[in-house]
Subunit: 225 residues, 8 copies
């Protein structure tokens, strides 16, 4: 299946390296793309990987690393790691509950891979409102807040009312019954009464980490036009 077209120009065009969406990729294809990118760029970063995919790729790239929680599968050559610039700026990632943490970690680690400093604030959902209120100062130091929440997703609205900076809201599929696999949380966030909230797909931690980095780079003045 040699049909994929490598988008060599992507880094120039968008300022970001390619990231692999591992879920559902055929084994041979995954091996092939990981090996090619690791050779060419000295690093490769994939999301939504399974434990089985990790075991598979370890045979080909022994130094590959897998994070069970975020499901990120990453390999970076030492010389590339050594050459990485210091993380910049400040992105706050908040979650409503502990079950939202995997999506939040996908966002946070994606942002870190792209060069952003991240501040985590987890399990601060609105049913115990003091948890978020006692951290307003932390939120206000960030250039952008990523708000991750399932069930009814009300966290985004409360955060939106407390901060000056944009909030990237990530609905999660956490919940059951009328949560409709995350659609309910998505609708909550899209209809938010608070300003400054925009929304990405359900469980799309990667997308939120990407946008947050774009905003963080703008705020730190490091976008390269």
């Amino acid at each position: 299946m040699d049909f994929s077209r490598l988008d060599h120009d992507r880094k120039n065009r968008t300022g970001f390296p390619e990231v692999i969406f591992c879920q559902g990729k055929a084994d041979e294809f995954l091996i092939d793309i990981y090996k090619k990118m690791y050779e060419a760029d000295g690093q490769v970063f994939g999301t939504r990987a399974t434990e089985e995919q990790y075991q598979l790729l370890k045979n080909h790239i022994p130094e590959i690393q897998y994070d069970k929680i975020s499901r990120i599968l990453k390999a970076v050559k030492p010389e590339v790691e050594a050459a990485r610039l210091e993380l910049i700026g400040n992105i706050a990632v908040v979650t409503a509950g502990t079950a939202d943490i995997p999506v939040a970690e996908e966002a946070a680690q994606t942002a870190e891979y792209f060069g952003s400093k991240v501040n985590r604030l987890y399990d601060v959902g609105v049913s115990g409102i003091h948890r978020i209120l006692s951290n307003v100062d932390v939120l206000n130091q960030a250039n952008v807040v990523v708000a991750v929440a399932g069930m009814e997703g009300a966290l985004a609205s409360v955060v939106g009312g407390l901060v000056k900076v944009p909030v990237v809201a990530v609905p999660t599929s956490v919940g059951y019954g009328a949560n409709l696999g995350g659609i309910s949380a998505l609708l909550t966030m899209i209809n938010s009464c608070a300003n400054g909230i925009s929304v990405v797909n359900i469980d799309n931690g990667y997308g939120a980490g990407y946008i947050a980095t774009q905003i963080n780079r703008l705020a730190e003045g490091v976008i390269d036009r």
Copy 2:
């Protein structure tokens, strides 16, 4: 169209008098039922009435009164009014925005008609969270809280996390676009991460006022089994 079956036993069975749902009722039918109930019971109370229905009924029951905001159309004979018991207990009715007030007033005035004391707390939505937080004491004195909110309906979750008493959540059709005519707020409330929240139909202020009164009566020890 003489098909309606008066439910004479209702008061005994449920403890509540009949209330008229005016919306969409044919003129002759509305006149007929208002006149019959006014004669029989000395009072009649209708919800979702229009200005036109008010003008129509004034010809037949000159002392009838219409409240534009709640759209309640009510007539009570002086001797019945005089014999009314003092309002009891404490129901808090809160709204997220000013656009939710018509539904909240339907709830509040229904509860008052059924004998409950009501405490109103309007325009305390979560995008300015200090507004609800500075009123927690008021909420905690109530036997039950009616939380009325449109758009994303996050108010119910925040209230639910702050109080010891049940919260009856009323989604409203306030909003636009992906609010789906109130379905989004309903889903938010049904999926709430906070405990103690149960939900009624979109814009159903009457239903919330009814349930709140049932709970208020239980709390005040005046249910008649």
Copy 3:
């Protein structure tokens, strides 16, 4: 994954101890939280637990007990058990069919854990209407009725027309085809023509048991403001 924020103030704020939602929790996390709560409070109560989770936790808390039907996983130290207050009041829990019993038991056992006396009335669905009618007296002695039904969920409407007290309706995912995983029953209950009905999420027995306890406490005069 040490991200969870214990909500130490919850008991004071809401009057209820924390309950664990076991479904989907990672093993290490579940063990950790059960052990901590068991130490701190002498009791721990979880819902939606699997047989596997029970086996897992038995290694750490040998006296833990699992109820297959309600899927509740509970451990209470003898001294805590001995100090429990007598169950108070009266909550009726009714189901339409036998398939709704697991959700009903989650509600009933939750209410009992929170101190309420529960009266069970199962398999009294409306297709054999005499079954509920012959039990009206039982319903009317309760402070609140929890009505649990899947398929078309019509039970709540019939119960609502028969009693003076609030009905907390729990739609279940029982059924197939156009039941839409419980959404149809939820819609039935939200649109009920009967008064006094409010609704919780699909299969949310726990939530219904919580609200019923709030109402039961109010009726018995034991809320602590």
Copy 4:
């Protein structure tokens, strides 16, 4: 617009004369078809007609009659009326509320036009369950029951559990909010826990009257194969 193909064979094929669905028909077209059918068959029967359509057609067929409630617009020549056979059998038409009566009348009058005897039982919804229970004998004398209900549509399930004969359930658009224009009642009826219930489109009184007549004819042994 002379595109319509008259289905001359329909009466032979199905045993029923053509009926006109008036809603949305252009004026010229409606006049044309009413005049042609009135000439050819001596009778014409239309559903969902407006007051304006009635006024329009009175100019062309002075003896035409309009029923405001059912919105049926009908003209029958005296000699055809005189030659009509006596109504046969027994169809029971029941409604949950008074607002469902227009749809019920469309069903009832359609069945009568097709030669069936109809027994009306209106405003017997399940929130006052005694109303339907005290009429079980009436239901059991029918060959088929048409159950018409909006809001949550629970009536069909209760009736289905009480009778030996088929129940044709008609959801109506009566209600508001989460009634979704009748979809909620339709889902209730499709998911009914009772046996013997089949469902037609929302507000489709005509369709129910047609099917009920088919069954009534079978029961009375007058189908002509």
Copy 5:
């Protein structure tokens, strides 16, 4: 779990014996109910049974029989079988494709168990319209037609236009993608442009067999009021 209330009066009230919906029933419960009914009535009939449930029950009722296609699990004592009345009347069961046959067989065998004669006509979908057209005479001899179809479910409309008798339409979950698990076929049938069509739940062969038997009995004059 001894909560089920046997509905001893059902046979008198509805004219039909109880049928077991096996899907999802706990093993102990299924064994218990099969044994009890087999003892009491000499026969027991269940739908949606699995191969595993069959193996389980064979240990308790060796003469039990399982039909893989219809998934019906049935046991009838020889003396009961011997005493069965001859099948009466005529029900036609038609399917669009071969994949719809399991649902059709559930309908057909249910109707036979309830005493009706059944005429099967399978794989006559509208994409090869001559297949149904060449069987119109067969359809017209039936007292009622059960039309079973998945995908777009157009078969019901074509049949409805060809026959004088009622059509009970059964949407199936056969299909993929935008078939929405059978919802698309259900909508097709509910919106049918043909008359005489009423609809049951997705894959509800049992329900269709029940209603068809009710109609068949009426047509054969054997309903016992």
Copy 6:
């Protein structure tokens, strides 16, 4: 509001002139674009125009013509009309009912404007299947069939099973209740069991006329690459 970018290259790129979608266009804008295109090209063709828009434009282009049924608003200069090529090929446009004709005419007249010969076959829905069957020869002479149907939209499936050429299916919003404004017919057509059917948006006669012309041109060998 001089923001529109004329797509001068469109004719070269796609082979089709621009067509105006009149619905909702502001008056000044509509006048401006009609006048500009009429000057530049000698002809202008718009869909979904209202009677009011026609009256408005007649003041500026007196020779403009409006067809009430298709709602097409068209002006062609005599010299352009004279220079038109003869219509080519054969497109069959069929409808289920008379209410579908406006959409069918939009398709037919669009195809004619684009140079295709059209064969109309209206009111041949499947509830009277002989109507379409007696016209199979007509269908088979076409290069492509446009099948227009509302309600349950079953016509497309029957046509698809009868012809060798592609069927472009157009769902219409004709119907009520569970037709969901045309979504039900769209789902029927998308799930069709017949081959050779592809679908356009609800009521999109224009789109069907466009595609049919593309196919007709290919069949007649007049595409200009």
Copy 7:
């Protein structure tokens, strides 16, 4: 109806003045709030205003201005206008079609009111892809792009693939049939295969202008923490 709570702290907390959502506001309320804010702040800015609301307010604030396209109703005192800071930064606002311009103008004028410089690029939808491609340089000079599109909303994905900066996507209700009032465009944007895209509510130009300003301020280094 003196229930609204002015959020005096909002400017400090969020950095933005209050904006009035005029749609559906009662006349007295609108007059009251416009007058109060105009007095207190010297300026007032409202969205979704009607022509009638403009006429109404002109009686009270003669210098008020109404923009028909964006439906923005604005009054600024000369001394406030004179004191306004120069617009900063660069926000690109792009639309797919001309029908999307009202929403785009709401976004653009909101951003300008909040102090941002805006670059408009309208009618550059993907059906004529050269229109957006020839403007890539313009897009890349912006700090953030607001992409406004109805129908299928594909513009956001194409823009997202072309730029380095965040794209705030605004689905519009432009379209018909299966556009579901804008839900289809919203789903397109939420599921975008391009990175850097986050989404606001249907037709929510105001929200997009707000977020774009937040990002623009960050990029220009003028956020005041």
Copy 8:
């Protein structure tokens, strides 16, 4: 289960041989039909086959071949293969991503089986727009384009704006969260702002290959009426 009716006339009526939809077919049935068709026609072609079905059939037809990617299971006798006509015309099949390739291959190989020449162009999604733009010439040489895309499905709109020939759009279930199993991509394509696009069911590569062949045959002048 010998119920299937072979449609012997299909080839004459539609010009296409029967193709087997393998998914969900019972083993015995699949063996039977493959053997019969292989005997009768010398070739058999099935879609959506599993690896297990392949292993099963290899025992009966050793020369059978399975393509893992397209899931096509095909057997052609050498003499039939030898007698095949040369592939004709030109169908372009394009995909947005690599994950869409299985559906694209089902389309391509179906078209080839039916005698069409196919030109593949994969992984040319709109997030890297240059990939499709650099291939416009290839697209314009085709008689028809099959555009296969999941996630937001924007590819179809861009292609539609670039070519003169019809585009058959195939939404795929590729994606997650708010992709709704492919419904989102389907809606995108149905609402496309570009002309010349018609849509088939989600993942229906077979259907697209069939229609593309119909159009290709028309363009090549080889339809046999």
